[in-house]
């Protein structure tokens, strides 16, 4: 039983994946110029439909969020004036750009939740949704702590970034990284990228950008991101949650409650039906006696 419970809470293991093959994205928003080349490249390479042309009023962001038809999304973070944080003039708004993408979580809520096995871990360590297997149950959408994967109601199936697995298989970089003109989207070996990010961070701190930080929640149940970010200011301005949790952490409590509920029901039903047998027997006896009399 305990192994059973353990299997329910434990993330899927991937013994075949070697860290030397694990690739990742390091998105450095201090280098992003908001050109949206990555969005266009992703749509063109993957043949993703357009999302409509709406003016949102939220800076230059007219897409809003990642969705079934938006796998790269450039955020335009127009913030208050904060003079003195290296490079910020007192006269201008802070205006950051950051290209968002599926995080390809180390422990991925979508993958654990998928009942069909459509979501799998690839040899590159990324999370891949096989569209020919997905049956459109939509359970992944309520299990992604970053609100990435989404069901396309017209098609019925869920979609998200493929990490350009097709391109990686033939030795190419993902389309978005290839199109990025400033190397804000860096693609490569995950470990090397993490090292590079650290040196870039100390670089920026040295230049006075004290508000620069790396967003890679390794201390939560997500255990780190294969697509991580460097942002300036509070990550919450970029819609990056401070404590994302993989929903399998709730399963222990959930199944315990289910077992307790079932036990209570079974016990109550046993007592109630045993009682009802006695009462119906005594009734029968009473009526039998009456009929004899």
């Amino acid at each position: 039983m305990s192994t059973f419970i353990h299997a329910m809470n434990a993330p899927t293991e991937n013994p075949d994946i070697h860290s030397s093959h694990t690739t990742g994205f390091f998105t450095d928003s201090t280098l992003c110029i908001g050109c949206k080349a990555c969005e266009v490249a992703c749509k063109e390479w993957n043949d993703v439909p357009e999302d409509g042309l709406n003016l949102s009023g939220y800076s230059y962001d007219n897409t809003g969020s990642l969705s079934f038809s938006t796998w790269r999304h450039v955020k335009f973070v127009e913030g208050e004036i904060k003079p003195g944080d290296g490079g910020n003039s007192g006269n201008h708004l802070s205006w950051e750009f950051s290209s968002d993408v599926c995080k390809h979580c180390e422990v991925a809520g979508c993958l654990e939740a998928c009942p069909t096995g459509a979501l799998v871990r690839t040899e590159f360590g990324s999370v891949f949704l096989q569209p020919d297997v997905c049956n459109g149950c939509g359970y992944c959408t309520v299990n992604c702590p970053f609100g990435v994967v989404q069901r396309n109601e017209d098609d019925g199936r869920a979609f998200k970034c493929t990490f350009c697995t097709d391109r990686q298989k033939v030795g190419l970089e993902p389309a978005c990284a290839t199109a990025c003109p400033t190397k804000s989207i860096m693609f490569g070996n995950l470990e090397e990228l993490r090292e590079h990010a650290q040196s870039r961070l100390s670089d920026l701190h040295g230049k006075g950008m004290k508000d620069a930080q790396i967003y890679d929640p390794k201390d939560t149940s997500v255990k780190g991101l294969h697509a991580f970010f460097l942002v300036r200011g509070d990550p919450r301005m970029y819609n990056l949650p401070p404590k994302p949790e993989v929903p399998i952490v709730y399963q222990k409590d959930a199944w315990r409650s289910a077992v307790i509920g079932s036990g209570a029901f079974l016990l109550a039903a046993l007592i109630a039906f045993t009682g009802s047998r006695h009462s119906s027997r005594s009734q029968r006896k009473v009526s039998a006696r009456r009929s004899r009399a």
């Binding site: 969705s67 509070d234 409590d253 409650s257 009802s276 009462s279």
Partner: protein
Amino acid sequence: MSTWPSESQKQRQPTATSEARLHELRSQAERKGRVEHVGVHPEGAPFPRASVETGYYGIPLLKQPPWTWEIPLYFAVGGAAGAAAVIAALADWIADDDKLAQDARWIAVGGAALSSVLLISDLGRPKRFLGMLRVFKLQSPMSVGAWTLTAFGSAAGAATFAKLLRSRYDWLPIRIVGEISQGMAALLGLPLHNYTGVLIGASAVPVWNKNVKTLPVHFGMSGLQAGVSVLELMGNENAALNWLGILASAFESWEGFNIESDSNRVLTPLKRGRSGFLTRAGGVLSGPTPLLLRLAAVFSKNSDSLRKLAACCGIAGSVLTRYAWMSAGRASTKDWRLPLEVEDKRPQEKPLPARMVEAVREPRRA
């Protein structure tokens, strides 16, 4: 047609007045976030800002549960079917109540069939339900549930069929198959009647995972209530049903009290707005109302009609409760503050023009 630059512009020189005007514009823009007089007046100005207080322009991070009306109804029907299978076995083996056992078996089998119809309707195509049976994954409550429902449906079907056959040919093998499948259906009915609480409780939706410790019992009791109620409306008067109804409605009352007395802001969708109304309506119909009616029925001479009334409330309450939780889940994912752990300062906040919010939140379907 005018040409540019015009003659007057060509001769224009910066003066104290022109520079003062530019400074005036700048200070206006700084103070108000916009300028008056000539020029464009963009709708929505002053422009929204991203900050720790406003998040990313208040655009929700989490995705809404995508399920259509079939799924909450499935929660109710599946819950009732699972509970009915347990009642069928115990009524047969312990209480010797043949009519009750038979009715309960029909609910189990009919409920399982209706459940799969509802699930397939949400998925769109029958073949897609088979996708659920490609693999078995303990980590995925959806997978566990799909397998449970399938196995339950087969067991309940076999039990019902065997009983039908036995009325003609009372052969030993048929009897054995009947008893075993009846036991299997009861055993699988236990998880089926409350796993849906696990399904939504162990998710990223804040109002659901906040209640993960009670949701499975809550959904199970709701299913038990619905199952008992349908059996009573089919004319079963076994007192055990009333006692099980009392247990379920007592738990539902307690759950309702718990929700109402918890002031945690994550629970707001269970109290405010459309989802709050549904939760309360469902709570009253499945909690205190049937509880009082059923307790009265224990002592009253008119117990049959009291129990029927309680049963009607119970069924309505059970269905409403499932819609309420779905609606609360949607409202919860729309609250962008929750995953970002931003304090709620709503009263002071001016809402953005609805048109713009819509444009961002609901990308047009391709």
